[in-house]
Symmetry: C2
Subunit: 146 residues, 2 copies
DNA sequence: TATGATTTAATTGTACACGATTTAATTAAA
DNA sequence: TTTAATTAAATCGTGTACAATTAAATCATA
């Protein structure tokens, strides 16, 4: 009978640690571009869909305004993105990629892909984990709050 | 052919998001005790092994002194733990649970277990994820840095 | 036994992350 | 149409998280 109260047997801790490992791994590549790991996630979102509103970006990344606003400001200061307030609805702010972010896309993603490949993760392993994590997330979000 | 550059197809993002969900889920229980999720992880480690050094605790949790020192200070201020500098080697600091942390253990872990159970995670699912995350972590830590 | 290297924590600076509040713009209702 | 409710960002306060530096204690060795 396993002890479920042990730190190393806690799923939450395994996820917490893995997230930390990803952060470190990605940072090791990204720092040479002057990017942090969360900032890279913002770029990923924008490369996929440029010119979204602050709100939409936050929803995509699961980040609130208290996190996103200062982060976007830093990325603006470093010429990765630019903000533009909507003319039709002045409450909305659109986020656009700057040339730098478009130009460097290939270089950055190539470097990142290289590091990930150096981990030798099997495709099957990758996909299984993705699927299981998504299932888990769904359960956590949809749990019945008695 | 899947697009691996998509945010939702990124394993790193799935892990990042899941960690966030765990944080929120656990926080919903822990806030009534005046605990944060990382602080709960510290308690988990100490319930398992009380009176370890600052260094050992950091290794167990994968946290550096820059994170742990202020966190332990806050937990000390809230009567969860106490610090004691070693007599034999004054560089070392031992961390001990306070009565409050020992007394409340059952109540806290019971509440946490309830919330986790409300997510309806299958045992098989749980164990598979644990195992896969550990394998992944190992690969990320041991990758050959060309 | 001095001195240089190592070890352990604390400190500093930057960057998330989140809940709560505030502010401004838009929309809905009386 | 004025007022009330809602929405979108920004701001604030607290708490991680980490790399780099500092400071103090111990150890190694010449």
């Amino acid at each position: 009978m396993e002890d479920f109260m042990t730190l190393k047997n806690q799923l939450c801790f395994a996820v917490y640690e893995t997230a930390g490992e990803f952060n470190k791994l990605y940072s090791s590549v990204l720092q040479s571009f002057g990017l942090t790991y969360p900032q890279y996630l913002v770029l990923l979102a924008l490369w996929e869909d440029d010119g979204v509103t602050h709100k939409e970006l936050g929803e995509k990344l699961n980040l609130g305004t208290g996190t996103l606003t200062p982060m976007i400001s830093r990325m603006e200061a470093n010429d990765w993105v630019r903000k533009e307030r909507s003319k039709e609805d002045e409450r909305k702010v659109y986020i656009y990629l700057q040339e730098k972010a478009i130009e460097e896309k290939r270089t950055i993603t190539k470097k990142v892909a290289e590091v990930i490949q150096s981990c030798q993760i099997e495709l099957e392993e990758y996909e299984q984990l993705m699927q299981q994590l998504n299932t888990l997330q769904k359960k956590m979000r949809e749990r019945k709050t008695n």
